[in-house]
Amino acid sequence: MEKIKSLIWYATIMLLMIGLYYVGRTYSIGMIEDFRLMEPVIKPNSMILIKKGTSVIRNLKRDDIIVYWRTLDGKTSMRIAGRIAALPGQIITVNLKEKRVYVDGVSIANAPAGIEVLETGIIIPRDTAFVMFDSPPQIEQRVGPHAYFVRFSDIEGRVTR
């Protein structure tokens, strides 16, 4: 009887460890840098739960909020959150009159400053997502179109709440 109780304990602990390992590999908790790019959905310096894994990244859909790493000046890496606007093979165009972004002919969001050059359209390359932000970048944070392209290898995971 004692032996059986011990076995059950060991099995429970093993299962717990396997469970913790699985959770640790699949999820992580992270903090977003002090940019107000995803307000009000994600506030700056707030903690978020991130679902990781290759299958998560391969199954991303439009409007998923992702967390990715961006390197500035070749030195500092920052964790940024953004919303998927387009996936590989889709075409992004910008209507300058309406100031709207279109994906495969469907209007999805207001066009941020700095991507006017995409007016005539661009195809999203493979293993890359086009990411936009719920709050437009401030003047000092404005970047060119290349900053909106995020490689799958840079994506940490999808934000789950």
Binding site: G74, P88, T120, D127, P145, S153
Partner: protein, 581 residues
Amino acid sequence: MTTQDYQIGVGLQACLVAVFGIFATFMGLGSVHEYKARASYLEAVGQREYGTEASLRVLEVSLGKALQEKPDLAAALMLRGWLGIELNDPKVVKESYQKLKDVQQNKGLPQGIADNGLGCALIMEIGTIKEADARKKVLEQAYQLFVSAAKEDWNNADPHVNAAICKLYYPERSALVAAAEHLADAKKSKNFSYDALVSYHAALGTLLVRAHLDKNVAQQVADKLHDEDKELYKTGRMLVRGANELEKAAAIARTESLKFKLNTHLALAQAKIVVWAPLPKRTLIDMCNNIAWQAEKNKTNYTPQQRQMLFSTAALVHSRIGARDAVAKYARNAVSKKGTDIGSLIQVGAAYVNSIQRAGTPLERSEHLKNGVAYAQQLIATPGADTATVYMGKRILANMYFSYGDFKSALATLQSADAPETIGDLSSAEQAALYRNIAIVQLSGKEKDSVGALESARKAMAANKEDAIAKQILAGLAGQIQILNIKASQGEKLPPSLPIISAKITGGVEAVSAENVAIEIDGTAVEVKAGNGGMFYAVPQKPLSEGTHKVKITASAQDREPATAESEIVVKFDDFIKAAR
């Protein structure tokens, strides 16, 4: 089971475990290299993300370690090939992709990626080959490699883009159409790598900028591309779109070196656009600033003529928006002691003329004139300057004086260009332009010299009969011959049967002479005499009978259409008899 049996069983199990252990050790040791190679490879991939020169050096070292551990690691070979392209080292590219091809061949795997890479290596080598035939051969080899890679994987855009870039190296205009076809195939696949996407937009931009120069080629290229813009075949639109595609490529490029290279091509395209396109002021200034910045910072990627063209374009555009200091600065940079491109000279001259015309106050006008005259005189006096440069300098100087309203100086400058040592070297079109401009200046201002202008216009037509402006000036000056007020009157000492036929004949600046006037009375020619103010007179040789008689007058002159007029005169004797009584 006895104790001995039990001992034998345990002993066998222990041996089995030992054998498995040794096997696992060997496996583990064998995979150490694999593990190390992959770790170094992943480190290299991480460095690739930074995109700076320093990170590329670290990437090179990491890749070296990876390939040392596992020489046939395909991913590392591909990345090394990419690195070779970034560092512009065709030897590294060729080595890496050749090795990759061998590895893939041995494993029976597709070699499309290797073929694609080898094609890139050949393209990079072309720059070092001077002989035209050898270049053509290498280009053809590269093209075949790309086509083969594209056939293996039609849905991969990368080799299509490379095949198109290959075609852009061919000098024939027809190659542009083939390039357009490849780019259309690439777009249809919608399956680009990031680098191929940048190359696609760069190639498309280059293609459109080159194709716009020929209407027929532009139409064919637009047809092949199947673009959403149905009016892309229009050459001006095509040029603007080409610049937009180059700008897009530069905007999405990840490395600074590639952005810089693409911006140099963009500046050349923008320089063509700003000269003629009616752009909003803000766009014009942005483009112009980019052009000037590229010309200043980029001494290696442009030929001297291209840099001069960029500076002169910047001067011209700034003259339109009234930036005086910028005009002077860029005009200085556009001129070289080693020789300046004629097109650039013309643009700088036009910049100064614009500045004079657009100046708001007399002081500004005279300042612009002072700067412009100094520039033109410097050009004329350049030691060793050829005839074409000296002539262009004089033309520019005359244009500036003309714009300022100093017609006397403008005329003197142009007439100084009409020297035998200068005029002989000019083409017939340029000679005609010189004389035509002299005629225009002679007709300007308060003191017009119509006769001189007529002479100059004649010289222009003699140099080039197709000069439309000279033709117009000549027609205006020479004028249409008109025969007016044909009448008969009685002379003091002449009977009514010998009336004096008179008419006023006009025709522009130069008077019609009596030798060119013919008068017929009832079909008989009579002698003509010229009077004052364009009047001509004739008297019948034989007396006329009473009644109606037909008079026909024909007049002609140099550079004018002959004119004919007919009239009837009535001869009456009653008036004479009454007068005699």
